[in-house]
Symmetry: C2
Subunit: 502 residues, 2 copies
């Protein structure tokens, strides 16, 4: 294999040339990892910038670098709008795509396909894949050195045992923390082990695989009636929009697809929605009239609404606080979100556990750091309320911050520690545009009130469903995915949902 | 939860009623598994039919039951054509869909989506999901009791640790063994552990995830040039149609998508195709002229064709018989297929290791057993050659056998041991219609000769590519998937391949 030897020779030559990032490289092999760790240590104590493995601080004649942690609604909207003539963009996230979360519940039963709701970051901000000094790194940020404008990262290698995770540093001129929140479990035992959340595409994939497996296993001869009912008992904990939309999708799937394609076991499958507050207090942020409508419609579709407090989650049953045992085959947990361990680990002022920000979405105690989306909240000193963890808040913040940073960059404040004297303009103001949720059977709720107390238009039924679909279709980021969402909806209508378990 | 208690009560009532299969059921719980195993044991020694957990033998006033092992080309074509007015159909397979294998290589890089090439069995033969006495069981057949017309099965529960596999029996009137073949590794160490085959949808998923992961990891600062080249070195072992088509797809992906979306690392990615025979002896079944053309085209696209014998496969490199070390990031193994352990375990006459069949595709040593597809081969006594392991052989056999069994059923020979005096009509004759393979960059080969020695039309280039796509598009089983294949091709052309790593 002479070409291979040539390649290695060439690579050695190239590695001596200069480039955007430091090339005095240590291979991934683990004996050299100690050597690398020594580098890092040396750096963090002595600031020998040239020994760092990672992206060094930009020089004044280079473009300033914005580092974005996370690839959710906030981070992606920001990246989309950042002027890449002014800035280099570096995104650090454990997933290389943005999930279009409002449509995620539909993918669990095959109404939509997984890829129709996932947008690669490179499609949202092409600079990260095409510009020589912009990057996307599949990694987690583990720590931030605010004083030195630098973050510490570790690559994500899940699923590949032969690869050791790799540590590296990235220096920033501006840092935007948009790393999102974590699902709340309230410390209930067994939730992480046995329940599935519904926040990422791989969650939806897991739910779909489990549901189809249970449908097939329950059809095998010799499975007891009791076990069939358990396997096909789908329990959803949490009556917020995610829990309700998933229950609605599931009941659609049962009424249409299971009845046709799993005729043998169709009478065994049931959906139970457990909500800790009053039994009909689902969708608590919605208009009362809409809530009553949703409750009626879900019940009509066969979803059992149960008031209960989960105390313990075991592999095949949950135990409620009144002692009731609820056997389940599929358990989906959607009881809201709270601060992530990463946010908890940051030593900066917080607001309700979230990263405290001022009206311009800055983290005021440090230079050049901003935070948007579910991980951030207005500091008490701003006199504002912490905003709800909603996609529309995150997206609006991303949009606002992109234009703020573009302005700062244009006025010469792009580099680290250069923005002190720049007028930031108007602060961020959030105006709630309303909420929407589907409840199955071509019905949805649309609540266009600005807040829970305000008056305004609220709609329920097929018209809302049409509004819901149209609104989200226009919001889907890329044309490719708009086309796929539309085609998925059409083929689901005509051919039913796909039940291949792949 | 009074409704849950009611459910259990109802279930107890139902379980006392009679039905198609025995209802004296033991739950899945493991303490009772021993009890179940005793049942099975008792059955197999004493033939107490009423104690069996499973589907009992049909009675003469019931429809006869065809049991099909496998859901590949042979089994699915058979099931599609079986007259369900005459027969009940029971399919036992570890996957609930048929894979449209000629298009599988395209899904590894996102030219097509996974679900576009998977057809659920219920869409191929709706009876298994709608008829009360036809079934699809997600299970493996472990043993066949030819004397008692019964198979032993075990459920597939991969991916779900809380479920114990469950054993059950199925009695048959006619048994069709279409369980396919296994990938050949020639006993080379490490192949099963470190290489990926390309036969199932989950293989294609694994390849796509690994490829995207390696592309992203190689872009992380601090990764050495050598490690980058290793991560992005895609090695394909085996120069048959699968290996060649995958190499072609991969080079398309590199030339179009990697160059655009992974611009930082585009010069590090390479494809090497290793073939044990002479270096340009890829696609050995094709016309010489086509082979030369394919070799030239692949080389032009950057695929390196290497002659070599793999001796050892290690996690990050393979070692050839001449001692060369070939570091790799992705290793795809496609060196053909051979008998599966299940086929090896069957105590019946074989033909080249496959299940021996006569001209009517019967297993002549036993009653009412047939075998089709890659797992079967003509016995020497037939004076015929064992047919190649090709989709078109399997499909033609499935079609032939369905019509044979329909004829037998119509003439009253559907039940076990009832077909001895029925004239089976003409034996199966295979006529090769030709071969096709894509080689990337909108080029393909079409070889319409009946055999390697015969004369006939052979085409190469864009016309062939068009023929290839049109031919397979018409062959895709369902309209749903025809639509999706077409849309996938169009969106790949317009928007490029999807690089979300989900």
């Amino acid at each position: 294999m002479p070409w291979l030897k040539n390649l290695i020779k060439i690579s050695k030559t190239i590695s001596n040339q200069s480039s955007a990032y430091n090339k005095s490289i240590t291979p991934l092999a683990s004996p050299l990892l100690t050597q690398f760790l020594q580098f890092t240590k040396q750096y963090s104590t002595n600031h020998h910038h040239h020994d760092v493995v990672g992206l060094e601080a930009t020089k004044s004649d280079q473009k300033p670098r914005i580092v974005v942690l996370g690839s959710g609604w906030a981070g992606c909207r920001l990246m989309k709008d950042i002027d890449t003539n002014i800035y280099d963009v570096v995104c650090v996230s454990p997933r290389n795509h943005m999930v279009f979360t409002p449509l995620l519940a539909s993918t669990c039963v095959g109404t939509l396909e997984f890829r129709s709701v996932a947008e690669p970051i490179g499609r949202i901000q092409p600079a990260v894949s095409t510009q020589p000094t912009s990057f996307f790194f599949l990694a987690n940020c583990n720590a931030i050195d605010f004083d030195n404008h630098m973050i510490q990262c570790q690559t994500v290698t899940e699923g590949v045992e032969t690869l050791e995770p790799w540590n590296f540093n990235v220096s920033y001129d501006k840092l935007v923390i948009a790393s999102g929140a974590h699902a709340l479990t309230f410390g209930i035992k067994g939730v992480n082990e046995h329940a599935t959340f519904l926040r990422e595409v791989h969650h939806a994939q897991e739910i779909r695989r489990k549901l189809l497996l249970n449908l097939m296993l329950s059809d095998v001869p010799g499975v007891s009636e009791e076990e069939k009912r358990r396997l096909l008992h789908c329990v959803v904990v949490g009556g917020g929009p995610t829990g309700v939309e998933f229950s609605g999708e599931l009941s659609d799937f049962i009424l249409k697809d299971v009845h046709q394609r799993y005729a043998h076991v169709k009478d065994y499958i049931h959906v139970t929605l457990i909500e800790a507050s009053l039994a009909n207090e689902i969708l608590s942020s919605f208009d009362d009239r809409l809530r009553v409508y949703a409750t009626k419609q879900l019940t009509k579709s066969g979803v059992r609404l149960v008031r209960g407090l989960v105390q313990d989650v075991q592999p095949e049953k949950i135990i409620l606080s009144d002692g009731t045992n609820v056997p389940y085959g599929l358990l989906v947990w959607s009881t809201g979100v709270g601060p992530s361990p990463f946010v908890n680990s940051l030593d900066i002022p917080k607001a309700k556990g979230r990263i405290g920000i001022d009206e311009w979405l800055r983290v005021p105690s440090v230079q050049d750091v901003y935070s948007i989306g579910d991980c951030s909240g207005f500091l008490e000193s701003t006199g504002r309320q912490v905003l709800p963890a909603l996609a529309q808040v995150a997206e609006r913040q991303g949009k606002y911050l992109a234009s703020l940073l573009n302005k700062v960059g244009k006025e010469g404040g792009g580099h680290a520690n250069c923005a002190q004297n720049i007028n930031l303009g108007d602060p961020f103001v959030y105006k709630h545009l309303g909420s929407m949720a589907t409840i199955g059977r071509y019905k949805a709720l649309v609540d266009l009130r600005e807040s829970k107390e305000a008056k305004g238009v609220s709609l329920a039924g097929f018209t809302s469903f049409f509004v819901w679909r149209s609104a989200y279709l226009t919001r889907v980021v890329s044309w490719r995915n708009k086309i796929y969402v539309l085609i998925n909806w059409l083929t689901t209508l005509v051919f039913g949902r796909d039940i291949s378990r792949i």
